[in-house]
C-alpha cells in the first residue's frame, strides 16, 4: 500500500480553517463577555453578534473514541467547531444560542462535567507520570483523578474567593507551570542517586555530568572513569540522571511528593508569584494518595474560610503572613521550609515585626 508524499516544514494548518464563521467575522472585535454558569459563557462583539461557549472537563489523556464522541456532539450542536483550552478543557463553540441548553443537557446525560469557568477550580495542569515518562517519581494522572474526585464540585457548581489553579508535576523538571500555581504537587527524591560506575564510563560524558549539578556535588573519579557524589551537597534534583541514566535517582521507598502553594501567573493586583513550600514530603500512596488529597483539602478549606473576595491563595497568605498560614492550616514548619538554595537571601525575614 503506498503512502502519500511527505512534506517538510509546512507547519501546522492556519487556525483560520477551524474558526466558526461568527468568530471569523468578529475576530478582534469582541466587546464583552458574561459568565452564565460555571460551564457556559457568552461573548458579544461590537457588531452585536454573539458566541456561546460550553466548557467540559477532560482527563487530558483521551482515547480517539472519546475525541470522536466529542466531535459527534460538536457536529450535532455547533457545526463541528470545537477547541481546547490552555488548561486542557474542551470547549464547544455554539453560534446558535438555542443549541446551548440541549448541548449542556446531553453532555451531562453522557456523564461529562460541565464547568471550569470563574472563581473555582478549573482543570489541573499535570505531567505524564508513570503513564509515559522515564523520570517520573509519582503518577500525575492518578493524583489528579483522586484530587478532582474530591474537588469536582468546585469545577461544576461551588465557588471560592477567586480561582484556585492546581497542578501536579511528576518530577522537578516540572513540564507545566507548577512553580506558579495556587496549590501544586511536585514529586521529589530524598536520597543521593546510586551510581552504576561501569555504565557511567561507557554511556556518559563526564564533564557534562559534573556541569549538570546545581550544587557542585559531583566530582570526577578518573581512576574508575566515573564520578562520585558528595552526599552533603546533593539536593536530589536528578539533573545528573537526566544527562546520565546510569546515575539512578529513583528510590521508591523514599520518593514522594511535596506540596507548594501561593503561586500565580496573572499580573492582576499583585505581580506573578512563585509557589512556595507548604509540605516538604508525603509518601506515594497509590491508587488514591489520600494524605495528599486531605492536605490539599485542608489548605483549600482554610483559604475559602479566610481569604477576602478576589484574593488568590498567594495574596491571602501575603496579607496574613506565612507564620499565620502555618498556624491556621496546622502544617508543621520544618528545616526544609527555610531556603538554603539560590534564593535564600530573598526569603529570610529581615524585620522585627511579625505575628505569633
Amino acid at each position: 500500500m503506498s503512502l502519500p508524499e511527505r512534506q517538510t516544514d509546512v507547519g501546522p494548518p492556519h487556525f483560520e480553517k477551524f474558526l466558526p464563521p461568527v468568530i471569523k467575522e468578529n475576530y478582534g472585535k469582541w466587546k464583552s463577555h458574561e459568565v452564565l454558569t460555571p460551564g457556559t459563557m457568552v461573548h458579544t462583539a461590537e457588531s452585536g453578534d454573539q458566541i456561546h461557549t460550553v466548557r467540559i472537563a477532560s482527563p487530558r489523556i483521551l482515547a480517539t473514541e472519546t475525541i470522536r464522541e466529542m466531535c459527534d456532539l460538536a457536529e450535532k450542536y455547533c457545526g463541528g467547531f470545537i477547541r481546547f483550552t490552555t488548561r486542557n478543557n474542551v470547549e464547544f463553540l455554539v453560534s446558535d444560542k438555542a443549541q446551548m441548553d440541549p448541548l449542556v443537557a446531553e453532555l451531562k446525560e453522557k456523564g461529562y462535567m460541565v464547568g471550569g469557568i470563574g472563581p473555582g477550580i478549573s482543570n489541573v495542569i499535570h505531567t505524564q507520570g508513570w503513564v509515559h515518562c522515564h523520570g517520573a517519581c509519582t503518577d500525575a494522572s492518578g493524583i489528579v483523578k483522586a484530587m478532582m474526585d474530591e474537588f469536582h464540585e468546585y469545577f461544576t457548581t461551588k465557588t471560592l474567593p477567586n480561582k484556585v489553579r492546581l497542578a501536579v508535576a511528576c518530577c522537578v523538571n516540572m513540564c507545566g507551570a507548577v512553580h506558579v500555581s495556587d496549590i501544586a504537587v511536585v514529586a521529589v527524591h530524598r536520597k543521593v542517586p546510586a551510581i552504576d560506575d561501569e555504565n557511567v564510563g561507557k554511556m556518559c560524558e563526564i564533564p557534562t555530568v559534573i556541569g549538570s549539578c546545581p550544587t557542585s556535588a559531583i566530582r570526577p573519579n578518573p581512576k574508575d572513569k566515573t564520578v562520585t557524589i558528595n552526599e552533603e551537597k546533593c539536593m536530589y534534583c536528578g539533573n545528573c540522571f537526566t544527562v546520565c541514566p546510569p546515575i539512578n535517582i529513583h528510590n521508591p521507598e523514599h520518593d514522594g511528593v511535596a506540596i507548594v502553594v501561593g503561586g500565580k501567573i496573572g499580573s492582576l493586583r499583585t505581580s506573578p508569584k512563585f509557589s512556595k513550600l507548604a509540605i516538604p514530603f508525603l509518601h506515594n500512596e497509590p491508587p488514591r494518595w489520600p494524605k495528599v488529597v486531605d492536605a490539599i483539602k485542608n489548605i483549600l478549606d482554610v483559604y475559602a474560610a479566610n481569604a477576602r473576595k478576589h484574593e488568590r491563595v498567594g495574596e491571602w497568605i501575603e496579607r496574613i503572613g506565612w507564620e499565620d498560614f502555618f498556624k491556621l492550616t496546622g502544617i508543621e514548619f520544618t528545616f526544609q521550609h527555610i531556603d538554603d538554595f539560590t534564593f535564600m537571601r530573598d526569603t529570610l525575614r529581615t524585620s522585627a515585626a511579625f505575628k505569633y
Binding site: 494548518p13 489523556i61 477547541r83 483523578k145
Partner: protein, 397 residues
C-alpha cells in the same frame, strides 16, 4: 476483561471526575494494535504496586531529515509487556489557539488508530497535540500521512519548541495583540529551528493577549509576549451602574483592590487616573461589561522564565516595555525575536537557557545586542550595592 488484573487502576475508574484509566481501556477498542493500551495498563498497574516507573530514557528515533517532534520511549520490561516495547511519542504541532473542526480531528484520529495506540494528550504541556505510543516502524508512515494533510511535527530537543498562545482575538475582548496570529507567524517563521535542533538548548515562545496570561507565558517561556495597551481604560458608566445595582460592592471589590489606587467612585460613576494605572487587569476582569483596555495596543516582551532545573525556577523579566505588533507580518516583533535568539545562540553553553545566560552575563549585553535602552520599567528596583561596571562608551555620554 483484558490480559491483566488491575485492581489499583480499577479504583481510579470510580468517582465523578473523568478517568484516564477508562480512556486507556477505550483505546483498545479502536487501535490496530490494541496490545499497546493493554500492556500500558499492565505496566502502569505494576508501577502502582511498586511505586516505580518502567520507562527507559528516550532513545534516538525520528523522521528522516528532522531531529525534533518524536520522542523515543521504550518499556524497560519489553518481555513482560511486549506491546509497549516501543511506545514513542509523536508531537503534532497544534493549530494556534487549539481550534479544530470535527472533520479535522476525526481524520487525525483515523490515522492514529491505524498507526498508533489510539491514546492522545489533548494537549501536551508545551501545546502540541501529543500522540502517545507508536513503534519505530510506523514513524515514517505517520509522517507521510500527517504532513501530506498539512499537519507537521512540533519541536523537541535542543530546538525552538512549538510556540503556543491563548485564545486571543478569536474570542476575547481583552486581546491587545493578535496572539494567535503572532503564534502562527512565529511557528511558520522558525520551521527550520523547530525541526532541526541546532540551538544550545530548548527555546520556548508563548503569547498571551493580556496580563491575565492564560497561556502562562510569563512563567514558562524563554520569550514571553504579553499584550498590553497605552492610553485610557474605556468606561461604560451605564454598565458600571448596572453592576452597582446588581449588588457589586465597587468601592471594596474594585476601587479598594486597585494596586495603584488610581480609581475613585462617586455614587455610581467610576473615574480612573490612567496616568497612574499599571494595567494589571483586575478591574477589567471583574467588570467585563463596563471596562475595556485602552486603544493603543502592543506587547510587553519579557524573557527568561523556566522550571527549577538547573539553579531554580524563574519568572520572565521585562526586556522591552512596549512594542507595536500591528505591522505587516509582525516584522518588528519578529526581528526582535531573531536578535534575542541570535545573542543567546552565540553566547550560551550547552543546556543553558536564556534566563540562565542573562544571570551569568547580566542584562546589559543583551540590551546592547538588541539595541534597547535601559528603562526603569525593566527593574523592580535599582541595584543596592555600589558595585557596577563602566565601559568606555559610558564616559562619552
Amino acid at each position: 476483561m483484558g490480559k491483566y488484573k488491575t485492581p489499583m487502576l480499577d479504583e481510579l475508574e470510580k468517582g465523578p471526575w473523568p478517568s484516564f484509566v477508562t480512556e486507556i481501556r477505550k483505546a483498545m477498542n479502536t487501535s490496530a494494535m490494541p496490545e499497546m493500551a493493554e500492556d500500558e495498563l499492565g505496566q502502569l498497574e505494576k508501577s502502582y504496586v511498586t511505586k516505580k516507573g518502567y520507562w527507559k530514557h528516550g532513545g534516538i528515533v525520528g523522521v528522516l531529515g528532522y531531529g525534533s517532534g518524536v520522542i523515543g520511549r521504550y518499556s524497560s520490561l519489553p518481555e513482560e509487556f511486549p506491546g509497549i516495547a516501543h511506545f514513542h511519542t509523536y508531537r503534532i504541532n497544534q493549530p494556534s489557539g487549539f481550534f479544530y473542526t470535527s472533520a479535522a480531528l476525526k481524520e487525525i484520529c483515523d490515522i492514529w488508530d491505524k498507526y498508533g495506540s489510539s491514546l492522545t494528550n489533548m494537549h501536551g504541556s508545551t501545546g502540541d497535540l501529543v500522540l502517545l505510543g507508536t513503534t519505530t516502524a510506523n514513524l515514517e508512515p505517520l509522517f507521510a500521512e500527517y504532513s501530506s494533510r498539512g499537519w507537521d511535527l512540533g519541536g523537541s530537543g535542543s530546538a525552538m519548541r512549538t510556540p503556543s498562545c491563548c485564545v486571543g482575538m478569536a474570542r476575547c475582548e481583552w486581546a491587545n495583540i493578535d496572539a494567535m496570529g503572532i503564534c502562527n507567524h512565529m511557528t511558520q517563521h522558525f520551521q527550520d529551528e523547530l525541526h532541526r535542533p541546532a540551538f544550545p538548548y530548548k527555546f520556548k515562545i508563548k503569547v498571551s493577549g493580556c496580563a491575565c496570561d492564560c497561556v502562562a507565558a510569563i512563567a514558562r517561556a524563554d520569550l514571553s509576549i504579553i499584550g498590553t495597551w497605552k492610553g485610557d481604560i474605556r468606561i461604560d458608566q451605564a454598565e458600571v451602574k448596572k453592576y452597582a445595582d446588581g449588588g457589586m460592592d465597587i468601592q471594596s471589590e474594585i476601587v479598594g483592590m486597585c494596586p495603584t489606587e488610581c480609581m475613585t467612585l462617586d455614587g455610581t460613576t467610576l473615574s480612573i487616573n490612567n496616568e497612574q494605572c499599571s494595567r494589571c487587569m483586575h478591574c477589567i476582569s471583574k467588570m467585563t461589561m463596563a471596562l475595556r483596555p485602552g486603544e493603543e495596543k502592543g506587547a510587553t516582551i519579557l524573557v527568561g522564565s523556566k522550571a527549577p532545573i538547573v539553579v531554580g525556577s524563574l519568572i520572565s523579566w521585562v526586556l522591552v516595555p512596549f512594542i507595536k505588533c500591528d505591522d505587516e507580518d509582525f516584522a518588528l516583533l519578529t526581528e526582535l525575536t531573531e536578535n534575542i535568539i541570535e545573542w543567546w545562540d552565540d553566547n550560551a553553553k550547552p543546556r543553558e537557557r536564556l534566563g540562565e545566560l542573562i544571570e551569568v552575563k547580566g542584562m546589559r549585553p543583551l540590551l546592547e545586542a538588541i539595541g534597547v535602552d535601559p528603562q526603569p520599567q525593566q527593574v523592580r528596583e535599582p541595584r543596592k550595592d555600589p558595585f557596577f561596571f563602566w565601559s568606555e562608551s559610558d564616559f562619552d555620554k
